[in-house]
Symmetry: C2
Subunit: 200 residues, 2 copies
């Protein structure tokens, strides 16, 4: 019997892209490589883009899905963002909380009609104030996802005191880890129960 032909698109920001990882996998690539080794026939599309907010992702995600997720394949989408929405440019938050949540709602309304969908919450940086604001945003995002019946993996609580994550983030650029940090993040998602492709 042929295995299902699984296609998965990851949309998000630099954390999805894997910025800082010399192995060029990030957490998304590590999850898909593990799934392939476990026997799933997965095609991995990483569509994380550095600096993007939820507004940027909302603008492009569907156009980028269309050539990649075909009527005849088994299609999955993962969204992960939040940190750039909160960041300040000239003292102004790039995207307000209500806009972030409205973007998430719109994304999920549209995505869940087409694809199996998962949301992965934003991971912490090496900045307590940012992390406190991000924790609050992540909780609100979870509420939106859960209300729409979409699983949500909070990553901040698991990583905010994680030595490996924090040491790499601090040693790198204050925001992004290196290979070992991304491996930790992949583990958090894999262990959540919400990731579809665990050991078979």
């Amino acid at each position: 019997m042929n295995k299902p032909d699984i296609r998965i698109c990851f949309f998000g920001d630099s954390y999805v892209q894997g910025t800082g990882d010399d192995e060029c996998l990030g957490w998304a690539g590590r999850l898909c490589a593990s799934a392939r080794r476990a026997g799933y026939n997965i095609t991995y599309y990483n569509l994380g883009v550095r600096r993007e907010t939820s507004t940027d992702i909302a603008r492009r995600w569907l156009a980028e899905c269309e050539p990649r997720l075909l009527p005849a394949t088994e299609n999955y989408v993962v969204f992960s963002f939040g940190a750039n929405d909160l960041s300040l440019v000239d003292g102004q938050q790039r995207v307000s909380e209500s806009e972030t949540l409205a973007n998430l709602r719109a994304l999920l309304d549209s995505a869940t009609n087409r694809y199996r969908t998962l949301v992965v919450g934003p991971p912490p940086a090496a900045d307590d104030d940012h992390n406190a604001r991000l924790a609050r945003l992540s909780e609100r995002m979870r509420d939106v996802a859960i209300r729409l019946g979409v699983p949500y993996v909070a990553t901040l609580p698991a990583l905010v005191d994680d030595r490996i994550w924090l040491d790499e983030v601090r040693d790198n650029d204050g925001a992004h880890p290196r290979a070992a940090g991304y491996a930790r993040l992949a583990k958090v998602v894999a262990a959540s129960g919400a990731w579809w492709f665990g050991k078979q």
Copy 2:
């Protein structure tokens, strides 16, 4: 001194995507991981899409570059396609040779005005007839690229008798190798002299 902030987009088909590779890197990911390990500050965007022809790529490439390649970053684009153009659907070749070459010309005219650009020729499958047609197309593609001053890396001559490549392709699906085959292909591109990020 800060290192240049290098962003690179790879556009192409399943070979660019890395179909069949359990490590989820393909040749493009291996090249970028090597470059990062050599000290280049590279952000790697893999925009290969399975089944796509040059016509499909021409349609989407610029829209997908725009959020990823920013005015303030040092930007590179790699194109690699050809095998799907040649494939037959209901006895009809999907894209004629003259269309493939016109697509390549249009892509390069537009890309070279904006980004440092490279073309990587299509690699062989486990099918002598297909390979003979592909070798001819690859030579014509090289002529187009060279005439426009864009470096072209032919991969078919280097791989058509390569044991590792052919054994994996045959053992897999007749078209795509696995991890070791993609590592061979990455080596061919790295050794060509046209790849920008060798050992520093």
